[in-house]
C-alpha cells in the first residue's frame, strides 16, 4: 500500500473549512491591521533598528572569545 493515500485530502474537505491562514487574514483585515493601509507608511520608517539578524549558530566552544561586546567593554575602560 502506498503511503501517498494517507496524504490525500479530499477537495471537498479543503473547500469546506477555511484554512487557519485565511481565518487569520480575515481577522486582521476586520481590525484594519491586515492590509497595506496604515502599515505601509510605517514600512517607510522600518529600517535602522535591526538589532538581530540571521546568523550562523554559535560555535560549540564555551571558552573565552573576544567578541565585539568584549572589545566594546574594554574600549570603555580606556582613559
Amino acid at each position: 500500500m502506498s503511503d501517498a493515500s494517507h496524504r490525500d485530502i479530499s477537495p471537498a474537505a479543503t473547500a469546506a473549512a477555511p484554512s487557519p491562514d485565511s481565518k487569520r487574514r480575515r481577522f486582521l483585515m476586520a481590525f484594519g491591521a491586515g492590509a497595506a493601509g496604515a502599515a505601509s507608511a510605517s514600512a517607510l520608517a522600518a529600517t535602522p533598528a535591526v538589532v538581530v539578524q540571521a546568523a550562523e549558530p554559535a560555535a560549540a566552544s564555551q571558552g573565552y572569545r573576544e567578541t565585539e561586546h568584549v572589545r566594546n567593554y574594554y574600549a570603555t575602560t580606556r582613559i
Partner: protein
C-alpha cells in the same frame, strides 16, 4: 535612508505585521526623529471603533503634535533615566526583577536555535522590547537569504518570550506620570500585541 531588499513574497497581512513590528522596534530603540514622527503622522488612520483602531489613530495624531526633541527627552527620561529608569524595557526585569537573569539565557538559546544572533556592533540586550519586536519582524518577513518561519514557530516565540511580560510593561508605561507620547505608543503596543496574539492563536 537604508533600504532592505525584500526577496520573500509575503501576503499583505504578513507584510503589515512585519511593518508594525518594525515600527515598534524603532520606537523602542530610541526616541523617534522628525522624519519618523512625520511618517507616522501622515499614515492612514484605521476605520472603526475597535480599541486597536483608536490606539493607532491616537498614535497618528500624537505623532503630528510631537516634536523630535521632546520625544528624545521623553525617551531618555522614561527608559534611561539617571541611575534607575522609570520603565524597564527588558524581559528579564519583568520576569525576575533583575537584569540579565535566566530569561535572557533562555532567550539566547532559543534565538540560537532559530539561527538569530545579535549583531556584533550592537550593545542592546536581546531581551529588550525593541530587539524582541525586531526578532518578530525577522521571523515573519525573513531577511535576504533567510526564509520567513511558519506561523507555529512565530506563535511559539511570541508566547514564550513576549506575551508573558509585554502587557505589564505597557501598563507601566501608560501609567507613568512622565509618559506623554510614549503613553500613546504603549497603548498602541498593547492593542497590537493583543491582536497579533489572537491572530497567531488561530489554527
Amino acid at each position: 535612508m537604508q533600504t532592505i531588499a525584500l526577496t520573500h513574497p509575503l501576503s499583505s497581512e504578513d507584510r503589515a505585521r512585519a511593518d508594525f513590528y518594525a515600527l515598534l522596534a524603532r520606537l523602542y530603540a530610541d526616541g523617534p526623529d522628525a522624519r519618523l514622527l512625520q511618517t507616522i503622522a501622515r499614515a492612514d488612520t484605521i476605520a472603526g471603533d475597535s480599541p486597536f483602531a483608536r490606539a493607532w489613530n491616537r498614535l497618528v495624531a500624537a505623532s503630528g503634535a510631537m516634536d523630535a526633541e521632546a520625544a528624545a527627552q521623553e525617551y531618555s527620561d522614561l527608559f534611561i533615566g539617571v541611575g534607575k529608569c522609570e520603565v524597564n524595557l527588558h524581559a528579564s526585569h519583568w520576569l525576575t526583577g533583575y537584569m540579565m537573569e535566566k530569561p535572557l539565557v533562555e532567550l539566547r538559546r532559543e534565538l540560537a536555535a532559530l539561527g538569530i544572533a545579535r549583531r556584533g556592533d550592537v550593545t542592546m540586550l536581546e531581551d529588550h522590547l525593541s530587539a524582541m519586536c525586531e526578532t518578530m519582524r525577522l521571523l515573519i518577513a525573513g531577511h535576504e537569504d533567510r526564509e520567513p518561519v511558519p506561523v507555529a514557530t512565530q506563535r511559539a516565540f511570541f508566547e514564550r518570550q513576549i506575551a508573558c511580560w509585554v502587557f505589564s510593561c505597557c501598563t507601566a508605561m501608560r501609567e507613568s506620570p512622565i509618559a506623554n507620547y510614549y503613553a500613546c505608543v504603549a497603548e498602541f503596543t498593547e492593542q497590537y500585541m493583543a491582536l497579533d496574539r489572537d491572530a497567531l492563536a488561530m489554527d
